[in-house]
Amino acid sequence: MDEAIVHRLWIIGGVLAGLLIVAPGLIWLERRMLALWQDRYGPNRAGPFGLLIVLADTLKLFFKEDWVPPFADRFVFVIAPAIVVVTVLLSFIVVPFAPGVIVSDLNVGILYFLAMSSLGAYSIILGGWASNNKYSLLGAMRGAAQMISYEVFMGLSMMGVVLISGSFSLHTIVEAQKGMWFVVPQFVGFVTFLIAGIAETHRLPFDIPESESELIAGFHSEYSSMKFGLFFVGEYLGIILISSLTVSLYFGGWLGPGFLPPLAWFCLKTFAFICFFILLRASLPRPRYDQLMEYGWKILLPVAILNLVVTAGVILFLK
């Protein structure tokens, strides 16, 4: 086989394997970090530091009864959890882990990511719809509204970066941050992007589609076994995705002092953002649904647009 194709296959396999190993590992990480911030220990019995809890959890999920409710729309019900994992995994195609370590450097990278995350909304909507259950439907409705309205200014907030670097390709964007990370000139864009990202992965405090205290588990209350597991893995993959995108867009991706390899810098920064996601979960309460909508449309959307206009104006002025 061609040398280049083999190399490409290695990268694809490496990225896929890495993500699918790290995503369940995040279950452990999240529980340990939450415990740390709540003055507890978390899982620390099985294996060193309780790491084998991941294995135990996965095995448990596999052996649970895989049950499709008789009132559910069977085909859609089965397909929904796969959609979230597939779309998030597809989004990773454009994430530059290190120079050369990227599955495909699409020249429309950011647009591609936005398209994939929009498709991800379908898993929630279809999952909640196919469950044929009022709580699931309510969760799906909230999820749809939340993801669509937060996607609007998620795209807008990234446009500042695109304006400065002049490219949609994430590889070029990271290269453009050699002089200064974009978090400095684009701080407002960074904050809005991060908030939109949290809402996009429907993580706490924006876990309104699945809010367990009001909607039981929202869109996935009818799911069991590995179908539920897929929703779970999709959520954790989403955290990794948003963290790695924040790093590539605003924190210089793999760039960093030379004593660590580029991949290590990327992983380190992404890890810091994953921990920040968990910290958010540990400290913030869930807003009400109308507060969430109001916050998105009345505050963050104008801020994102303003940021875009000011950035464009400054660039025009400098030219």
Binding site: L36, D39, R40, Y41, L279, S283
Partner: protein, 171 residues
């Protein structure tokens, strides 16, 4: 916005706090002496059984987990023929201890009585009886009660006067 950042920061600082967890099987909490745990039957200082089989504990028990049968020995001293506590029912309320007139039944600071077999939670008298006076050292019911048993008549106890001959008081 400020309060959000503040609560994030406060939560972050908890990283450096001491953890509250007690790592149970290795590390144990100190139980107070008045802890209501496993139930035992205690003995006199002279190692006689304190229980006189009055059934008050069984009557007080809200979940009916105590069952016993009273009998008498050759000295006329009452004792339980069998004494059975079903710990799978027991709620450790301590009413039996409060009902007991002879301090025989007592709850002690021990709760580690897990079993794989439910039947093993039914404790018989030989498992309940301990070789000591429990929380009341020195108390001996038959030494202070005015009951006649073999080897000891009425009025021969400590702090006790011989019984009054009621007939002599007649005018």
């Amino acid at each position: 916005m400020f309060s959000i950042a503040r609560s994030l920061w406060i939560t972050f600082l908890h990283m450096f706090h001491k953890r509250d967890t007690v790592q149970y099987p290795e590390q144990k909490n100190k139980l107070t002496t008045r802890w209501r745990g496993r139930i035992v039957l205690t003995r006199d200082p002279d190692m006689g059984e304190r229980c006189v089989g009055c059934y008050l504990c069984a009557a007080a028990c809200p979940v009916d987990c105590i069952s016993l049968q009273a009998t008498e020995d050759e000295h006329g001293r009452r004792y339980p023929e069998f004494f059975r506590i079903n710990f799978s029912r027991c709620i450790f309320c301590g009413y039996c201890e409060e009902a007991c007139p002879t301090y025989a039944i007592q709850l002690i600071p021990d709760f580690e009585m897990s079993e794989y077999n439910r039947q093993n939670l039914v404790y018989e008298k030989d498992e309940l009886l301990i070789d000591g006076p429990g929380k009341y050292p020195g108390y001996n019911f038959y030494k202070v009660a005015g009951v006649a048993i073999g080897g000891k008549g009425k009025g021969e106890n400590e702090n006790e006067m011989p019984p009054v001959d009621v007939k002599s008081l007649l005018p």
